[in-house]
Point group: C3
Chain length 159, copies 3
């Protein structure tokens, strides 16, 4: 995998955010393979099989008045020349029609493949470290190790 | 355009954020061309023509006690060897002297040029997806497609 | 310093965030040199000398129920082939067991070295531009230039 491949992969992830915030669902769906699998949570309405299904299911984002998806922490693990496992974080801000806001600190767990010369998302599964504000969608919590038995928090550190 | 060019362009955008947060306006203005055009919004006080004008107009940021500008979603489209169109997102946090905070989810739409061997911002126009908290400055909303006629939000998705 | 070095350095910084959010302290500590110096603030409990000390001291993060550390604004200044000064920003979100949240807009000031073929953090000192919510830990404020004497804020800019 070349440096150019890594850049193209990152561009695909960024374009997803850009197209989602402007609700260009036609452009967004073309970032995925025709037979992609997308799983944002256990609710069937948060899942999509294939590009056309994804484009339709993402219409749900119109229930927000505005969104902003800011990507960070991109990590690429090549699996051969034409496949990569990719993990990234997203700070997703949402504004409801009544003006209240909600923020998600999400994680995209992706598999990308080179298809017809372009990197495309073949599989996306979402998790999150948490959220704040008026967000209720059931996105699964990412794994986090628990403290060892008997661990006690330090006193007075948060003054 | 080489990979080194792309890195230098991204460094310029990051340095803008770093210098703005420490209010190094002399350093910040040197990231722009001498004849730059900068437009943060329709209010004439949010616009600047040329590097010296920009340095003076950015003094307005001192009305905040502290700021943090975190850049993401950088996309570079080369236009020949010495010019590039660049789009990026910024999560801009502001703290007023009274302790209240305001956040902007902004978009920088830039043109960069290679001038005297260094990449510089020749034109910057700002838009935003939204804001929260005590932010009132008139930055234009970015474009976002409206739902098709008759579109209805899914029921019960938000718990 | 090659482009591959820069990428490996950025991967180390991102892995720190990923491992901290999942509380993989064993993995996290291996991103540092055996004799690392880490200083998050003046409180001795926010400092660590050496990898083992760091792993123990980072257990304090379990007092939060969840965290999300999103990295941005990475700048790398090579100092020879095997050392680099690196600065980056972090948007660190914390959720307390009672559900209240706290956000830090932090700055990591690092020195990385190539040790046994891998880039590792030899020294990390943290500062911040600010915080919001229920955050009380004494992380030092980053430097910011003060306005010139007699500077007056523009009127009416904030509506």
């Amino acid at each position: 995998m070349t440096d150019a491949d890594r850049r193209e992969i990152e561009d695909v992830l960024v374009d997803y955010c850009r197209m989602l915030d402007r609700m260009d669902l036609e452009g967004l769906s073309r970032l995925f393979t025709a037979d992609c699998e997308v799983i944002f949570g256990p609710d069937p309405r948060l899942c999509a099989s294939g590009r056309d299904d994804l484009r339709r299911s993402m219409e749900r984002m119109w229930r927000w008045q505005r969104t902003a998806h800011h990507l960070s922490n991109v990590r690429v693990w090549p699996e051969g020349a034409d496949t990569a496992r990719v993990e990234s974080c997203v700070h997703a801000w949402h504004e409801a029609p009544n003006g209240t806001t909600a923020e998600v600190f999400g994680i995209y767990c992706d598999r990308l493949v080179r298809a017809h010369g372009n990197w495309r998302i073949a599989r996306r599964e979402m998790a999150m470290n948490g959220s704040q504000g008026a967000f209720r969608v059931q996105i699964p919590q990412a794994e986090r190790a628990a403290p060892p038995q008997g661990w006690l928090p330090p006193e007075g550190l948060d003054g």
